[in-house]
Amino acid sequence: MSAVLTRRPGLGRLRSARAPLHLACLGFVALVVLAALLAPWAAPDDPNAVDLGNALAGPSPDHLLGVDAAGRDTLSRLLLGARTSLLGPLGVVAFSTVAGVLVGLVAGWRGGWLDSVLSRSTELVFAFPGMLLAILIVSVYGEGLLAPVLALAIAYLPYVSRLTRSLVLAERERPYVSAYRVQGHSAAQICLRHVLPNIAPVVLAQSTINFGYALMDLAGLSFLGLGVPALTPDWGRMVFDGQTAIQHGYPLSAVLPCVLIVLTVVAFNVVGERWADRVARRTP
């Protein structure tokens, strides 16, 4: 029988067992980013070069990962697709982080009516799942990457601003803030020089996790044909295009982007969560 107030057996082992996973994920993130950066030079073929006579061919020396139903080189499309597939989420995360921190900082620091207006509108945005808001905007603007990125950024903003607000509220109560105030430092100075650097790790960890979600949402929109324009190489779009190939029994051109999407999302999740764990343990 177990004793009073002991932690679960195996938890310690689990922590150490997860370290290699974390390293592998970190490595994978680096690899994908590198592939996206070097894609134009690394891609063996023009991703849009159509070769219908060769459609659905398997891996060969010419096409290392085969070709899709339109005869386009899968490897080249995957490499260049990494660019769009990462750039979109990057836009979402960058915008939602910057705007969210700004809004959360002002609301947390100033409080009052600004704060209540913010929490009202936050509730409204929470009622709209990110993907739904994106679809609504796309239905107005038509397809393209910019509209869904902006819509998702707005949908993700409340998560960042709410986190920032609570962090700022806690930070404001700490003695060093009043010490600086007494010394005549302005609120903006204190926020910029001290509060912001202190809360940054937590917010950035949240944004890393958001990156994975944004990637899933944007890939989903591309899968629906509502994201990137048809010819742009993109993993979500490749899954959509690959559906025909699957029906004909040649799954490679659809399965590979699927695998890349899953691995990339998992890698960002694991890295972000580990980071969040570590940050949470450091701050009291």
Binding site: M1, S2, A3, V4, T6, P9
Partner: protein, 322 residues
């Protein structure tokens, strides 16, 4: 009550040794202790002295990876060699424990009635109606009304909740009640009530009570006999009054001097210098030697025998009063 052989001790611990993985020496090192039916015995010591481990061993609650030696007889049966089924039967019946913090010990999501009856009901000892009736009786015995059965723990004060804990411990009609610092988490008035209640109940139900505390004064007030524990060993035992008036082990004396007393002159509180010995280091000689003002070379080399005072140089006079 159910046991005609009155002479069987409620609790009989003989030479209990307990080893934890990673510790250089036993956490419990030859503990001997008895509680007769209807008797109150106090186990006193600093935190980390092994007093809680000793009392928990009577329910078979051992830390993971612990290895044991010696025997722990509850109502004549060895707990250390029991299988899970017998252990469960022991816990619902003959032995029960009152914990330190009733707020943490009672599940906040379940009603008081559920807390009281679940031990006996889930093991099929009593049916629902019988269990509810007994729960109401025991609530009455601890001075609470039966309407509490339908309440949630969050609606009760800490003192009331500790009474509920005590009622819950009595559900299986135990021969042995273990109380692990049952008043530490309570405010002062509730403390006095709980202590008085424990005394009454012991008399009424004839239960043996092992009272674990760090408070020597409280121990003396409630118990027939007191064991003082230090670094996994019992260093001094005796009737409460004698021990209180004339401590013979220097540790007991130091503990008494560190306890605030109403009848003592002010300004005489003396903290004990130093720290209890580290579990990660092996120990030769008396565990208290490093902190003892009377220690000699012998104390550092050879562990003193256990009985009646585990000390090479027991005090003869009455240093607490001089």
């Amino acid at each position: 009550m159910n046991h005609p052989e009155e002479r069987v001790n409620a609790l009989d611990i003989r030479g209990l040794r307990l080893h934890l993985p990673g510790a250089a020496r036993p956490v419990l090192d030859g503990v001997d202790l008895t509680v007769a039916p209807g008797e109150t015995v106090a186990l006193v010591g600093e935190s980390g002295s092994g007093k809680s481990l000793t009392s928990r061993s009577a329910l078979g609650l051992l830390p993971p990876g612990a290895t044991t030696g010696g025997s722990v007889l509850v109502d004549g049966e060895d707990v250390l060699t029991m299988g899970p089924d017998r252990l469960r039967a022991l816990r619902t019946g003959r032995a029960a424990m009152v914990f330190q913090d009733p707020r943490a010990a009672v599940n906040p999501l379940r009603r008081i009635g559920d807390f009281l009856t679940e031990g006996v009901r889930r093991t099929g000892v009593l049916g629902k109606a019988d269990a509810d009736r007994r729960a109401a009786e025991l609530l009455d015995a601890v001075g609470l009304g039966p309407e509490l059965l339908r309440r949630y723990p969050g609606q009760l004060s800490g003192g009331m909740l500790q009474r509920v804990m005590i009622a819950g411990a009595l559900m299986g009609d135990p021969v042995l009640l273990l109380a692990d610092e049952p008043t530490t988490a309570l405010d002062v008035t509730s403390q006095a009530e709980v202590i008085a209640l424990l005394g009454q109940l012991r008399e009424r139900f004839g239960t043996g009570l092992l009272f674990v505390t760090h408070d020597l004064g409280l121990a003396a007030a409630i118990s027939d006999r007191v064991h003082v524990m230090y670094a996994g060993r019992i260093v001094e035992s005796g009737p409460a009054e004698a021990l209180f008036e004339r401590p013979r082990h220097p540790y007991t004396a130091a503990l008494l001097a560190a306890t605030p007393r109403l009848d003592a002159r002010p300004g005489r509180l003396a903290a004990i210098d130093g720290q209890p010995p580290d579990l990660r280091q092996d120990l030769t000689g008396c565990a208290f030697a490093a902190r003892c003002p009377y220690a000699t070379g012998l104390c550092h080399e050879e562990a003193p025998g256990p009985w009646p005072v585990a000390c090479h140089h027991p005090l003869e006079g009455n240093p607490a009063d001089d």
